[in-house]
Structures are given as C-alpha cells and as structure tokens.
Point group: C2
Chain length 397, copies 2
C-alpha cells in the first residue's frame, strides 16, 4: 500500500519509473507520432502541436525530471508541531499523504510523468486526465510508469489514466468525491472556469496573476528600473510577470521616461501624468488595470501616496504577487500587512515567485487560493497533516 510505503520504496519506485520510461522510449515516441498524425492534432495551431510533440531530448528530460524528484527530500513524516500536554499525552501534527491526487491537464504529454512522479514522491496515487489529442502518448507513458511501480512491488494503480477523454467524463472526474482527495488543474482559463463550475471534490486552483509593482518616493530608482524591466519583459507570458506599475508622483518624472526608453519593445498605457512623461503611452482604461496581459504591455499609474497605491492594488489584485520598491522599511512593513496576496515582495522582481526560485525543488503550480496552500506549490503542498496522539492509558475526565 502506497500510504504506508517507506521513503526508500517511494524513491525506488520513481527511479524504476524513470528506467521503464527510458526502456520504452521507442513505444512512447511511436505513440506520440500517431497522436501528431491524428486529424485533431493536424488541426491544432503550431504552438499547440509543439506542446504535444515529444522527441528523444524531451523524453530524456522527462526521465531526468523523475530522477530529480526521487532525489528531493521526503515531504512525509515532517513534524509540524509537537507538545507534551499536562496530562502526559504526546501530541504532534505530522505530514501524511493526501491519498489520491487528481490532475487534469492539457496536451503536454510530459505533464503525465512530471505529476505522477511528484504524487508518488508525496505518497499519493496519481489519477490523471490528459487531453484527447495526447491520449496515445499519455497511455504509453502511463504504461511505462505503471510497469516501474510494479517492478518495485507497488500496485500498478498508483498511476491511473482516464482512457475516455470526453468532456462528460471530465466533469464526472471533477465530482469523484470520496475517491479524489485533491484535484489540481494544469491548464488555461477554460479549464479553470470548468473546474469552478463543476468540481465538487476539494481542489487547489492556479489562478491569474495581475501582478503590480509600486515604486515609492523612497525607492532606489536604479533598483526600481532593473526590477521593473525584469518583472515586465524578462518573460512576459507567465503569471508572475508584472502587469501594472504604480509610481509615486515625487519620483515619476525621474523614473518613467528612462524606463520607457529602456523598454522600447513594451507598449505603455497610462494615466494622464504617465502620458505627459511617456509621450508614446496611450490611455489606460479601467479594464487595462484589471487585465493580465501576458504580453509586452504595461499599465502605469502615477499615485500621490503609498496608500493610494495600496488601495489600487486592493482593487485590482488577483492575489498572486505584489511588489514595493522602497528604502523605507516602515512603509515596507505597512505594505506587507495591508496587501492580500500569495506573495508580497520588497525590492525585488515578481518573477521570483516560482517554486524553483524559492527552493521548493519542484513546482506543481502556483496557488492563488487562500485555503490549504498559497503561492508556489512544491511537494509539501501535496501532503495533508494528521494529529498523532500518544498516551499511556489516559482517559478524558
């Protein structure tokens, strides 16, 4: 039984899964070639076809990914708290497996082995539902993973794939109460909307990132410029990229023209004062301030105070990552206490809100919900806790 499997056995299983995937590379690549030749796949956009495509290098990276998960520290058995009660009871809270983790994902076949490895590492079975276009690839990968689990004596069913990729069954999958202990979506807005509408099992959602940076009047403007350029332009298409920039009026004139010059590739949309300082900027609408552009577009607003910036963030934030650039430590603390987000950053780039960058070793997603786990989810986010209570015959008076 996986729940009771030792750390060693779970690691051996993942290493065996990696080995089986390596051994069966030809079958996986052949299945993937069939997926790519199917009419539905031929109708996909080139970028979607690219996400679906496997080759030897990508398969090798999936194998390597599994091996690196085996090398991560065990997330189970960790003591969250311990107390000796006055009546002699030893009370501790300990990290234990969730049970069955469901994952719904789109047409990247590598997700199959990535998430299966993380689930097994955390002592939970992986119940997977990938996209119809990747079904043959996912089946071949799953068969390899199951063979690996079996080779070390675990049940094959520690990894299961839904073989009917219909929409009806996806909805049923989201309603497997009592079977799925935690459902994690890996996909775009349509999948998240469907989860919110249909899911009745507990889930952790990886939502939008409408991330702000506020450049205070007490900011180190050289840092502020580096940070703004990094947060906006280093990789604009991801959820931890900056979408809106707020600038204190006292430094706007010294800061904004240079920033605009340093990012000629970025489209600026701003308030009246922004447009005075950046002639190429167009008018920012309410909707612009509310939008996760995921593109080389930046909404800018000049504010009269830090509290105006905080109020703007409270209004438009999606609760992902919010940054302040200031040398005023008291203001930084006020900002931390006032802003309600998964991550609050001081004097650095929102792009650091990432499991790898924060030392989690692996990332399942970035939770924008408040219950269970918030922010980048590593192995710990895939566990539950139990109270362990040890006595010597004590009874309650």
């Amino acid at each position: 039984m996986l729940r009771a499997a030792s750390n060693e056995l779970r690691c051996e299983a993942i290493v065996a899964m990696a080995k089986a995937l390596e051994t069966r590379a030809d079958e996986v690549l052949a299945a993937n070639a069939k997926d790519l030749q199917a009419p539905e796949a031929l109708a996909l956009s080139e970028s979607a076809r690219d996400r679906l495509r496997l080759d030897e290098a990508r398969l090798a990276s999936m194998v390597e990914g599994l091996r690196s998960v085996a090398a991560l520290a065990d997330p189970l058995g960790i003591e969250v708290s311990r107390e000796l009660r006055p009546n002699g009871l030893e009370v501790s809270r300990i990290r234990v497996p969730l049970g069955v983790i469901g994952v719904i994902y789109e047409n990247r076949p590598n997700v199959t082995s990535d998430v299966a490895g993380l689930c097994i590492r955390a002592g939970s079975a992986a119940f997977l539902r990938g996209s119809a276009t990747a079904l043959r690839s996912n089946l071949a990968i799953t068969q390899a993973l199951r063979a690996g689990a079996s080779a070390v004596g675990l049940p094959e069913d520690v990894v299961c794939l839904v073989e009917d990729p219909s929409h009806e069954l996806a909805v049923k999958f989201m309603q497997l109460n009592g079977i799925i202990d935690c459902l994690i979506p890996r996909g775009g807005p349509a999948l998240l909307a469907s989860m919110r509408e249909h899911a009745s099992v507990p889930y952790v959602i990886d939502g939008d990132g409408n991330c702000h940076s506020y450049v205070d009047k007490a900011a180190n403007l050289a840092w502020a410029s580096d940070i703004a350029i990094n947060a906006k332009a280093q990789r604009p298409g991801v959820c931890n990229a900056m979408e809106s920039l707020l600038v204190h009026e006292a430094v706007a004139e010294r800061f904004l023209p240079g920033l605009a010059e340093a990012m000629p590739q970025v489209e600026f949309r701003g308030c009246a004062r922004t447009r005075e300082l950046i002639p190429r900027a167009t008018v920012a609408s309410e909707e612009d301030y509310a939008t996760e552009f995921l593109d080389l577009i930046l909404a800018v607003k000049v504010v009269a105070s830090a509290d105006e910036a905080i109020a703007h963030i409270q209004r438009y934030s999606s609760g992902h990552s919010e940054a302040i650039i200031t040398d005023d430590e008291q203001l930084a603390e006020h900002f931390r206490r006032s802003v309600d987000a998964a991550a609050v950053l001081v004097n650095t780039s929102t792009r650091f809100v990432d499991g790898g960058e924060l030392g989690l070793g692996a990332e399942v997603g970035i939770s924008t919900q408040k219950l269970h786990w918030r922010g980048p989810m590593g192995l710990e986010a895939l566990t539950a806790t139990s109270w362990f209570i040890d006595g010597k015959g004590q009874v309650r008076p």
Copy 2:
C-alpha cells in the same frame, strides 16, 4: 482596516465587544424573549428552545468567552518557514488574515459572539448567517459587537449579520465568491448536505465521526477497558465518541465479557464471536459498522490480526479519529502510517480529539477534510499564509 490592525488593537476590540455585550444585556435578553415567544419558536422541540434560550448566566459566559479569546496568543505574524536563498533573497512564509470568514449556524445565539470573537482575533471580518428563529437575538448581539468594534476605531462592518434568514439567501451566501474567503458551517447533517450541494466559496467542513478503537493482542487490557468505556460512554452524543470496537481474537475472551459488564447501559451489536462472548449482544449489520450512532450503542468485531482491523477501519472510517491500544510500538507505528484520519491515537481515548484538550485554546470545529486544516480547528486554522520575499534589487536572470 482590520487586515493591518495590530495585535493590541484586535484584542482591545474584542474586550470592547465584551464590554458592549455586558452593557446591553437587557436589550439582548429582551430580544431573546421575543424570539422565544414567536410562533416558530413555540413550535420547536424543548431541546431546540433550550439552545435558543439566553439568560444572565449564558450571556455572562458569552462575555467571558470573548475575554478569553482576547487573551489567546496572536495567530498572525507567525513564521512558518524562513530561508536565505543563495542570491540573497530572504524568503519567509508568514501567517496572515484570511480576509472575510463566513459562518452559517443554527439556533444558538451564543455562536454569534463566539465566532465573531475568533474571527476578529485572527484578523478577519465575521460575516454571519444564523437561523431565522434566533434573528432578534442575533441582531441585538451583533449590534453590541459592532458598537464595541467601533469604540476602538475599527469599522462596524468587521461583524455583519445576514438580516434576511430565508433559505434562498442562505444559498446565495454560500456562493459569495470573491467576498467570503472561507465558509465554516456550524450545524447538523442537513446544513452540511446543503453546503456540499450549493457552496462555491472555499469551505472547511466539520463532518461525521465514525471513530474506531482497536484492542490489539499486545494491549494492556486494563488501559483498553478504561479507554473503551471513556470513548463510548463518557459523552456518547459527540463526534469524537467511539462507535465501533475491534478486538484481536487472542484477547477477546479476556476482554469483551468484562467490558460488557462494565457498561450495562450500552447496547452491543457484534459479529458471531462477539455474540458468543457477550450474550446480550445482537447481530451487527454492515450498516451498523458504517453508522455514527451518537448514542449508547457499540458495534463490535473480533478480528484475526491487526491488518484485518486496519482494513476494517479503512473501509468504514469517516477520517475523524482512530485509536489502537497496544504495547507493540512497531505495530503502533504501522497503524499510524496505514490509517488515514484527522487523528490517530495510541493507548488513549478518541474523546481527546478536541481543541481544548489539545491545547488550542478555542475550537471552531473539527475538520474532517484533508485540505487546509485537519482535525480540531483553533485560531491558526482561521489564517492563511503569505510568502514575504525581501531583496536588495535582485532580478531573475
């Protein structure tokens, strides 16, 4: 703003709420008298009328309850983890307020001040929906609490009561996504079923407790007897009472007849071997093993091994509290690793699974779900975490 309120201000607010409730005792008791005289209240059972009834002593205990919550340690600002990253970023996870906590409850007016105090202590606004029968009482209590909050400079709306107690509005309340950050039901099976059907906001559910105790062949039988009597009979109507007892066949003959004699008030339902050893026992059906009796009834099964007991628990457990009585420490560890429950107890009574007994200071309920918080919920269960990331101008390469 409550989110940014200091520990001192939150405590002062709760003390002021207690004072206001004390000052307005006459108004609250007059409102309660009207509730009790309303036709719907006159139609209630005597026990339901008793739950609705306030008197000077009960009101004093509500006031005292608020003062004791003010005296609890601050659950906010607690460091869950901290790490200095190789690039110099200081990364910590810190306990922060949830935001708005919704509570739906039945006709105990004391819940109004109890949960409002806990929410404010945890830095969250309390959005309350009580029963129609208690509306006048709840309004009078809420007005006092709002006056208390206002007296220390917090917005009155840190405590809000839904003034339309219709079923339609209760359903809408459960769907206030974006307003309610966490919904907590305080009530019976009908309320929980309605939550599972209608709620779209994140919630924490306090489910059934079909709790087992397993008396191993290596058990200290004197302890086992004390524990079984305590777990079954000390307060049978609560969720942490034992409902089923599993006994290893090697000790059944020495254990069960004496236990039955020691609990003449308890009805036994058992397997064939149980009925041989306890002549008054009747046949236990599958349904008996699945039932949370909340009564002086005990289902008993004699098992051939610890693993048979574990398999029985896996099949019938509601994931609340499961106990083993054994002197075999290796078996105890196997039991802890195999059983999937909010609490796993060794050599003690399931009745200890309670916020007060475990040192939480106050209890909002006992979560039987796995995400967010599991088991007795104190103030910590009413918080979220944020990542705080402090830099000196670092950007992501």
